[in-house]
Amino acid sequence: MAAACESLGRQVNIMEVCGTHTVSIFRNGIRSVLPPNLKLLSGPGCPVCVTDQGYIDTVLQLADREDCLIATYGDMIRVPGNDRSLETKQAKPNVKVVLSSEDALQLARDHPDKTVIFVAVGFETTAPATAVVVKEAAAESVDNFCILSGHKLVVPAMRALLSSKNNNIDAFLCPGHVSVIIGYGAFSEITRDFRRPCVVAGFEAVQIIEGLCEICRQLSTGEPALKSMYPAVVTEKGNIAAQKMIDECFEPVDGDWRGLGTIEKSTLKLREEYDRFDAFKRFHIRQSPSKERHGCRCGDVLCGLIDPPECKLFGQICTPREPVGPCMVSSEGACAAWFKYGQEKIRT
């Protein structure tokens, strides 16, 4: 890796597109053993972080309704909206943290007098689980259940990043978990259309380093390619059954991302036949345009344009205890990882 980087004679920017990679890179101190001209950028790989502010505010509004229960994954409850977060609402009994989509559906079965709204976020990894419960709800006619789909697709986001004129990304370390579902073949369009190396890696320190070595080798030889270094669990075609499940319930539509703006066919919306489980339709929600909190540079962090410490709020008024932006909330968020494991001492 060192020889490859040296031969390039310039700064090399590799983006990891997965929050679990981000955390593993920090926990294992991987940055400290890399060649000095190799820079890792933390990309839009944390589901909580990429969720648009408009969506968060919609969830907060729904949480005000007495006739509803909000079922959400734990990470989402601390994301601040314009003036509050779900956590401050959790004292109200209508916000429930669930560990799975099944738990959300069970909540609906257990509370027939309330409408249960499942805050369905995440990439292709969590979307199949949401699809399963939508189908179950349809089969059992659990009509008091619905989902607010904020599910996102990884490949359109990678395309958007590379299409942006500011982009400085030389290669992608592709996400392991997402690749299990969509197959590494899904990244072939990035290599083909943008001529960037795409390498899928596992989450152990050695696997990540192997992935980075392969990328550096490709860059130095000028032959960008698609390669999976995680053959034990990732196949070229992925999990066909899970893809089918997503496809049967959802269709890709244009969607808003934090920092990346609106990306074509990047968000999953429930298909018409499942309209009655679509919280957007049931509550006639027109999502307000996204407005990020003042001074927060989560968007720039997610695009790999800055490292978290370059944000003026970082470690000062934005801390894991009192997060301003979502990247400081989720344990997989780049800011939270920098704060927890960072190279610099953060005075508290």
Partner: protein
């Protein structure tokens, strides 16, 4: 024929100072802690101690759930206070025991807790010499809260403290870390692999006294409870102005604990322990320290995890990772795991 009253639950009146209180004390509490000082039932315990220098500490226990693999709130209430006395360089002598019990709490559970307190106190050679019981309305407490205060006789010639710590001193821990916190959180989250996890809850005084009486170069001791090893090491670094370097490869962590922590997104270094101590010891004495620990059931997996080093810029705790990388071990926030002890 006298009517035999039998209460299988705690009532508010059990804390009212009347007949039921007396009944509770005589039937349930006193038989558990049979010692001369307590049975005198005075307003205060009278102790005759030969040591001129004492350690005094207090701690409250609100752990949820009350019973967990490897212990319960009663055992914890004794071990926690005994360990605080032990790592301060004293031999624990006596404890007080205060109970705050919610109306409706099952008497059978109270008896189990009392018997656990008695057993742990006996094993730790401390007497429960004074106590108090209060009851509160249902909803005003969560089942039962316990406070114990303890006094220990300082070991002669022992002077532990941050100021004794010097560059080059070694840092040891007496066994696997993170066991208690991960057991509690897994049991609370009802995670399937909890059967492999067990709290390390144990009283450490016998081992600490043996170490302090036989090893000269011990500078400092602390039990890494809330905030885990990360908090203790950061406290040492901040208080001494020196830095600490630890090695990930040398950290004793059980695979089940690591797996649970990975799954839930916790860093084992920040997870609470209830039967562990960190000892800072001079390089000359570290061998003797390890030898004594390895001969004790509570110290068989003792490890040197790092050492005290010069500070370059600001005092910090740094870890050399398995792949030879470096990362900072920050002071944890301590909001991740409420009510673990």
């Amino acid at each position: 024929m006298t009517k035999k009253t039998k209460n299988d639950k705690i009532l508010l009146a059990h804390g009212g100072g009347g007949q039921l209180t007396d009944d509770l004390i005589r039937r349930h509490i006193l038989p558990s802690f049979d010692n001369e000082i307590l049975t005198e039932m005075g307003d205060s315990a009278r102790l005759d101690l030969t040591s001129g220098s004492l350690c005094l500490t207090t701690d409250s226990y609100v752990v949820k759930p009350l019973f967990f693999r490897g212990g319960d709130i009663g055992k914890l209430a004794v071990c926690g206070t005994v360990n605080d006395l032990a790592v301060a360089g004293s031999r624990p002598v006596a404890l007080t025991l205060s109970l705050i019990i919610e109306d409706g709490f099952k008497m059978e559970l109270l008896d189990r807790i009392l018997s656990s307190i008695a057993k742990t106190a006996r094993q730790s050679h401390v007497d429960i010499v004074a106590g108090d019981t209060k009851t509160v309305e249902a909803g005003a407490a969560d089942k039962i809260f316990i406070n114990t205060a303890g006094i220990g006789a300082r070991l002669p010639g022992v002077d532990l403290g941050f100021r004794q710590i010097a560059v080059g001193d070694r840092i040891i821990v007496n066994g696997s870390i993170g066991d208690h916190g991960m057991t509690i959180i897994s049991q609370r989250e009802d995670i399937a692999f909890q059967t492999q996890l067990e709290s390390d809850c144990a009283a450490l005084a016998a081992l600490t006294c043996q170490l302090l009486e036989n090893v000269d170069g011990i500078r400092f001791m602390r039990d890494p409870t809330r905030g885990g090893v990360a908090a203790t090491l950061n406290e040492i670094s901040m208080s001494t102005g020196l830095s600490i370097k630890i090695r990930e490869n040398d950290l004793p962590i059980k695979p089940a604990v690591q797996a649970a922590a990975d799954m839930l997104g916790f860093d084992v270094l920040t997870i609470a322990n209830e039967g562990k101590f960190i000892v800072v010891v001079s390089p000359e004495s570290v061998g003797e320290c390890l030898k004594i620990c390895r001969n004790d059931p509570l110290g068989q997996e003792v490890q040197i995890i790092g050492e005290v080093v010069e500070t370059r810029d600001v005092p910090l705790v740094e870890m050399e990772t398995r792949i030879g990388g470096r990362r900072i071990v920050q002071m944890p926030y301590g909001r991740e795991l409420p009510r673990i002890c």
